[in-house]
């Protein structure tokens, strides 16, 4: 995903001289080509996330299109007040990039875990919040974020995530239908799309075909899609790698609690706990029950229940 990010950013910068990139001293060798090509439009502010947010805001105030980049936990949690006041309050078009979101850096320790990045960013009025699921979605979303009149957040993963094939267009604010099905719908949030697809594939062999809808945009949530999904499935299995207080399940619940249609909602994702012990990401997903097997199992139960 990070390769896709740099390529998409380079493409944007080539087309629009207002695009500038600011990093909090991260991305070793990743941005060398960008720096060589665009010189002063590459800015390393140092390990200073407050300054990263403020300088980005100042550049936006002068008509530039800044992308501010750091590890997700530092970019959002550490810089929160500065993003709140310097970026969100004046509604400036700054694209905030959190690299290695969720439990990407699970073995690195709690300091680098960011189950809360999207939740924090969602709390900011006017902030668009996205988590692409694969490199294709990164490439497609970035120019759409850059064209927004206000601020946005994008959580991206690491290198080498596979792309999944889908003819569904990647449109900001719209869910993507990845697989048609019946009875049960898996709603994947961001990077959980590949897990959802893997679960759906194993279920198919057993004669079960759940829908798979990918949500790369958390805010604004695709309310139209939620209405349709609620009509087509009796159970929604929501898979997310975020805090329970600030992810897709929270957004869906908030939306559907006032709706006439009330499908059964099942959430698979991390609990409100610290991920101690330097677990591998796969270990964590298995332990907390939001890997492909747990997703398939939740679908099986729901399928047979009705």
């Amino acid at each position: 995903m990070r390769r896709a990010f740099v390529e998409a950013l380079t493409d944007l910068a080539r087309k629009d001289p207002a695009v500038v990139f600011l990093t909090g001293d991260l991305g070793f060798q990743v941005f060398d080509d960008f720096k060589a090509r665009f010189g002063p439009r590459y800015i390393n502010v140092g390990i200073a996330e407050a300054e990263l947010a403020c300088a980005g805001a100042g550049l936006a105030r002068e008509g530039f299109r800044p992308f501010v980049y750091s590890i997700a936990s530092f970019m959002t949690g550490r810089a929160y007040e500065l993003l709140r006041i310097a970026v969100a309050y004046p509604r400036l078009p700054v694209v905030v990039v959190g690299a290695g979101g969720g439990y990407c850096y699970s073995t690195t320790g709690v300091t680098h875990h960011s189950p809360d990045d999207v939740g924090l960013m969602s709390l900011l009025p006017g902030m668009t919040v996205t988590v692409p699921g694969d490199p294709t979605e990164v490439r497609a979303l970035l120019p759409q974020l850059a064209a927004l009149p206000g601020p946005s957040y994008i959580r991206i993963g690491k290198f080498g995530e596979p792309s999944y094939e889908s003819p569904a267009p990647v449109t900001l604010g719209r869910a993507r239908l990845l697989r048609r099905g019946e009875k049960v719908a898996i709603l994947s949030f961001g990077e959980m799309a590949s897990v959802a697809l893997e679960a759906a594939k194993s279920l198919e062999a057993e004669g079960m075909r759940p829908w798979v809808h990918q949500f790369h945009t958390l805010k604004p949530i695709d309310t139209g899609a939620l209405e349709e999904i609620s009509a087509e499935a009796h159970t929604l299995v929501i898979v997310e790698e975020t805090s329970p207080m600030g992810g897709l399940h929270r957004a869906v619940t908030e939306r559907l609690c006032g709706s006439a249609r009330r499908p059964t909602l099942i959430r698979l994702g991390p609990p409100d706990e610290l991920a101690l012990g330097s677990p591998r990401r796969e270990t964590l997903r298995r332990r907390w029950g939001f890997d492909a097997e747990a997703t398939a199992q939740a679908c099986r139960r729901a399928w047979k229940a009705v």
């Binding site: 500038v20 002063p40 439009r41 800015i43 502010v45 140092g46 200073a48 407050a50 300054e51 947010a53 403020c54 300088a55 980005g56 805001a57 100042g58 550049l59 936006a60 105030r61 002068e62 008509g63 530039f64 800044p66 007040e81 500065l82 006041i85 310097a86 309050y89 004046p90």
Partner: protein, 275 residues
Amino acid sequence: MDVDGLHEKARQIRATCVKMAHHAKEGHLSSALSPVDPLVALFYSWLRLYPKEPRHPERDRFILSKGHGCSALYAIMADLGFFPVELLRDYGREGSPLASHPCAHALPALEASSGSLGIGLGLATGMLYGLRLKGSAARAVVLLGDGECNEGSVWEAAMFAAAQRLEKLLAVVDYNGIQAVGRSDELMGGASLEEKFRAFGWAARTVDGSDIGAFLAALKPFPFEEGKPSAVIVRTRLGVSFMEGDVLWHYRVPSDDDLRRSLEELAARPLGWEA
């Protein structure tokens, strides 16, 4: 305007601040009074501003980073014609463009909203970086409180400004010595702000703020040193003798008697209340 004229103007702005605080029943009076001398010097004789075209691309960017001192800025902006002086009577009122902390949505002539400390300097560094990319000669001035310099983000911005050689940046520190609860020297360990800025790669000076002529002389030449951002630490005073050096005036709303005594001592009529 000559230096005598600037001192007279400063008395009028102070009178206006006291009147505004009294009328609106707002606190933060000392925070507005202490930066009046440098603000008057900057606005009436140093900054390139376009009150009738506040977004003029070549304007100098001014950010009041210590937003709680905004009544002084409002009084000066009104006097310079950014908006009618009568609006000063609405300061702090519900729905007023003159909010108790500056809001650029309410008053678009402002360069930035403020009220949360330690943000203005960082904003200015981004603006200046952008201005340099655009080839503009505009300067940026940020007025900070001494207490505000407790915030770590001020020093993140200071480091970036020096690293990027933002020589069109001027930080003016209102060194009034008092914070919300304590005294700034005690809370900062007494070390000189001038030395701190210098250690961060800035050119820095300390001046007596009560002498507007000395303050303006200290800004020449600008930048103080080629390739470096400039900081001027201004030893300021409130300018109303019975309030001087008292932390109480960070909060206290002036009584009728306080107002009368202040206006008598300042020998000036508040702007916006002439009629």
